[in-house]
């Protein structure tokens, strides 16, 4: 198949950037979107041109490195799919595809389709961990965890931190990411001890970088791991409780 690709090119953070159009021919519909970019980049390199910079790592949808805006949708048209798992068969022969980096004030474009997502690291640093004394592991059966709770915590833990939620949000809010990262710890006994102080610190850090939630639901629709906005409600409730109960040592 043949496609026309309109790709965002930007030499660096201070460069203005703009779209460039490329004809990409003889593609297999079984190629992933990233493999299509690989084919184009190989040709650009042979022609002595600069290849299109993009992030990728595992290419099996579990690392969260890849992610671009494809025809105005985060990770492209297919639900519950990271860009690396999106295949060219999702497009028609002769299509024009527009590809753009995630846009948010906190996600500065480093080059072409690569953005700086380190604001996510600041949020995780603020509370996305459990403070426990290390040593010999306790007997697992001493702290029973209901099956439903374990499943819900695992649903939240599926977050790969790709940033599609922020990219899809008209407010550039990071509520879904933060809620997932807080909830997968908050729901379990080991993480539950720091539930409120964690939520408070992570939300306060989140708000230094990102917008606020207006409940459009775009994040949930864009999430390659289909993480539910129920976790956002849970985080909102915990944040209120944290502020009410706080003894001022947050």
């Amino acid at each position: 198949m043949n496609i026309t690709l309109r790709a965002w090119r930007q030499a660096g953070p201070s460069d203005e950037g703009g779209f460039e159009t490329y004809q990409v021919s003889d593609l297999s519909s079984d190629m992933s979107f990233l493999e299509m970019l690989d084919v184009l980049n190989e040709r650009l390199t042979l022609e002595g041109l600069e290849p299109i910079a993009f992030d990728s790592d595992c290419r099996e949808g579990i690392c969260g490195a890849c992610g671009v805006m494809i025809n105005g949708r985060a990770h492209g048209p297919q639900a519950a799919t990271a860009t690396c798992q999106l295949h060219m068969r999702s497009f028609q022969d002769g299509d024009t595809i527009t590809v753009e980096p995630w846009r948010a004030a906190a996600f500065e474009v480093i080059r072409d389709l690569v953005v700086d997502r380190s604001a996510f690291d600041r949020i995780v640093e603020a509370g996305g961990f459990i403070t426990v004394a290390t040593g010999s592991a306790p007997e697992a059966n001493l702290t029973p965890v209901p099956k439903e709770t374990a499943e819900t915590a695992f649903d939240a833990a599926a977050c790969i931190g790709c940033g599609a939620c922020v990219a899809a949000c008209p407010n550039s809010a990071a509520q879904l990411f933060t809620a997932a990262k807080a909830s997968h710890l908050n729901l379990l006994p080991q993480g539950g001890a720091e539930r409120y102080v964690r939520t408070e610190r992570m939300v306060d850090t989140m708000e230094r970088f990102f917008g606020s939630c207006t409940n459009h639901g775009e994040c949930e629709a864009a999430c390659p791991k289909q993480i539910s906005i129920d976790f956002i409600a849970m985080m909102n409730r915990d944040y209120v409780k944290a502020k009410v109960n706080s003894r001022g040592n947050a």
């Binding site: 779209f19 105005g72 846009r103 948010a104 917008g211 939630c213 207006t214 409940n215 949930e220």
Partner: protein
């Protein structure tokens, strides 16, 4: 105060004030339906509101307490919305290419516009039927003659259209708000999640049908 400084706190305040305003809108609509009973019932109802809890409290005191609460709820709702809008403008960078929203509803995308328009309409509506300020109020406006004022105001064709359009926008605003408040207040659970959207649909439908029926009833000569 520290809580209100946070965006999550502001959304919580928007949810709580939203509930207060929804309660008012519902009570206001139910009260208005008295116009269908005729026989001066709407006027007696308005009179009753001025004497609510009398003689426990002096006349109009209860009414003013409720009005004060409403004004505070409106101001907080608007202040939180405005400051969150500014925050979101700062946080957002526009896409240069096409943007294809997946699920955001017309209502959720237009909350700021529907909110601003309904607020402006509210001032117009107060000038028309509460304060009796011309040119908003109809000719011959008389304090206390609620039913006559209402019929005179809504028999002006342009005004009736304005009331219908404003109430449709109010319905759009409520359609998103009455669902959204559950999320902002942290009320989500698989056991009742599907009822949240239905509640918002039913609530906005009831408000729109009740309120829009009145200008139509005046126009068709059923009332007034």
């Amino acid at each position: 105060m520290e809580f209100y400084r946070s965006a999550v706190g502001k959304k919580w305040v928007m949810g709580v004030t939203g509930i207060a305003l929804l309660g008012f809108v519902l009570a206001h609509m139910i009260g208005n339906l008295k116009v269908y009973l005729g026989d001066g019932q709407l006027d007696s109802y308005a009179h009753f509101l001025r004497e609510l809890l009398y003689p426990l409290l002096p006349k109009t005191v209860t009414l003013w307490l409720m009005r004060t609460g409403l004004v505070i709820a409106f101001l907080l709702h608007i202040h939180a919305a405005a400051s969150l809008t500014l925050l979101n403008r700062r946080a957002n960078t526009a896409y240069r290419g096409p943007r294809d929203l997946a699920v955001a509803s017309y209502a959720s995308r237009t909350m700021r516009w529907s909110g601003v328009i309904v607020a402006v309409f509210l001032l117009w509506h107060l000038a028309d039927l509460t304060w009796g300020v011309t040119p908003m109020a109809p000719e011959g406006w008389t304090a206390g003659a609620v039913e006559a004022n209402l019929a005179a105001s809504l028999s002006r064709g342009g005004v009736a259209v304005l009331y219908i359009v404003a109430n449709l926008l109010l319905g759009v605003h409520i359609y998103h708000g009455a669902w959204s408040l559950f999320q902002s207040l942290g009320l989500a659970h698989p056991s009742y999640n599907r009822w949240r959207r239905r509640f918002a649909q039913a609530f906005s439908a009831v408000i729109v049908i009740g309120n829009v029926s009145i200008p139509i009833a005046v126009w068709t000569g059923w009332v007034g």
